[in-house]
Symmetry: C2
Subunit: 301 residues, 2 copies
Amino acid sequence: VRILLTGAGGFVGRQTLNALVQTGHDIVVASSQPAFDGRVCDWIVGNLMAAGEPERIAKAARADRILHLAWTSTGGSFWGDPQNLDWVAATLCLVRATIRHGASRVAVAGTCHEYAWPQSGKCVENVTPLAAHTLYDGSKDATRRILQIYADREGVVFAWARLFYLFGHNEHKNKLVASIARALVAGQPARCSSGRVVRDYMDVRDAGAALASLATSETSGAINVASGNGTLVAEIARSLGKISGRPELIELGTVPDRPFEPQMIVADTRRLNNEVGFHPRYDLDSGLRDALEHWRVKLRA
Amino acid sequence: VRILLTGAGGFVGRQTLNALVQTGHDIVVASSQPAFDGRVCDWIVGNLMAAGEPERIAKAARADRILHLAWTSTGGSFWGDPQNLDWVAATLCLVRATIRHGASRVAVAGTCHEYAWPQSGKCVENVTPLAAHTLYDGSKDATRRILQIYADREGVVFAWARLFYLFGHNEHKNKLVASIARALVAGQPARCSSGRVVRDYMDVRDAGAALASLATSETSGAINVASGNGTLVAEIARSLGKISGRPELIELGTVPDRPFEPQMIVADTRRLNNEVGFHPRYDLDSGLRDALEHWRVKLRA
């Protein structure tokens, strides 16, 4: 089976590529970046946003399956970025071209933010109602709706991975775990909100492995990619402080809480665990240890 | 106010253009076809499906408002046409470019098929649930979802016209009224289904005028464009027979009914009537008379 991967240069994409090449399948990457060092698969350099490129890439890839992760993700500003509209267009174009060139399975990355936040309980695929909060998740959700109908008509198996909260290697430095870990490694105070909300955090290496499993599986429809465990954000901050040996640097409540933050965003992962057959390798504690170590090495370099 | 119109060469678009030029506003048409005879407005020839064209057209148009009607509509086959995906992309691109070039109001054509068919009662905007039945209406609905969020963010007023059943001048010859009228004019039997379903039929000249009113109004959100009156399809067929003086040519029940046809598709038109302030000019009987006359002239020519 030959699998086309996009977004391989991104936070989750790098880990997904690592996991995919280990499956033994024939992997082809389409990326705006040149092949990374130690390339172990076919590589097409191209810009999905340019006219004619999705078609050219799909043709050159000759893929049986596609795992499409590429999307705008300019740190923080992507929620309202008008480029979301261009990514809808590029995604529809790429998926259509890939199917035209023979692919029979399509998997695309969505987001937990497609869900209307439940008052309590976990987000369950096909049960929890959906609601667009931003241009980003509205665009993702609309893309899913179109591709689901299109794939059904074409007799193509379609999977939609709803990614929850991730942390770990190469995380954007302003994100929760990276920002705290970097402060701790630098011996500086880590200023945090009260952390009284519950989130589902997964090590990005597990997320990459889960996406690789999804791409090589036969599972279809929406699938939460997450740990399935809810943790207080304050607890994550305190764990990092404790692991680093500098718990006193964690300053909870010194940054104002954001208004309108949902109390709980946690995935039901029965589809991922039972249908895709994926189980995370890292628990939260070992993931946080590795993240701290990652930043220790990185900031020293 | 300068208004950009797309789809002016289509069934509804022609009537919309007629109505728009009568408003006294400054109208600019973007069309794949050259300017019609008797052109009374600015005209940009271009192909919205070609790379770079939406941007070029938007720039050349310098419009304060856009009324976007263009979409794939290859008679009968557009329901599942993969080109629907290209039209989503082109629409997002064109709307984005038009806003970037200064437009502050966007109106786009949707369809009554976005509604989940109610068991009884009329389709009410923002009340009747939505459900995609085909790639066409799924693509339309997804486009609306994205554009609504995008327009809100950009401070642009966004209206979405849900067109119901139309008939009249230049209707596709396989459609209900055109096919019966053509048979009657030719003196041939008009073979029909049982006609036991209720539909909301509007004269296309009224639909064009309604869209022109919507484009020049300040009304936002989803708006049904329809007569608001339900009529048995059999009744429409019988009316045409009666008007033509050949009622015996109407052969109800000689064509099998389609399976899974919803019993009733009728619009609640309070938004169109009260908020847009539009009221149809033609009742069903006078519209059918004119349609018959239209085909009489056309088939003689």
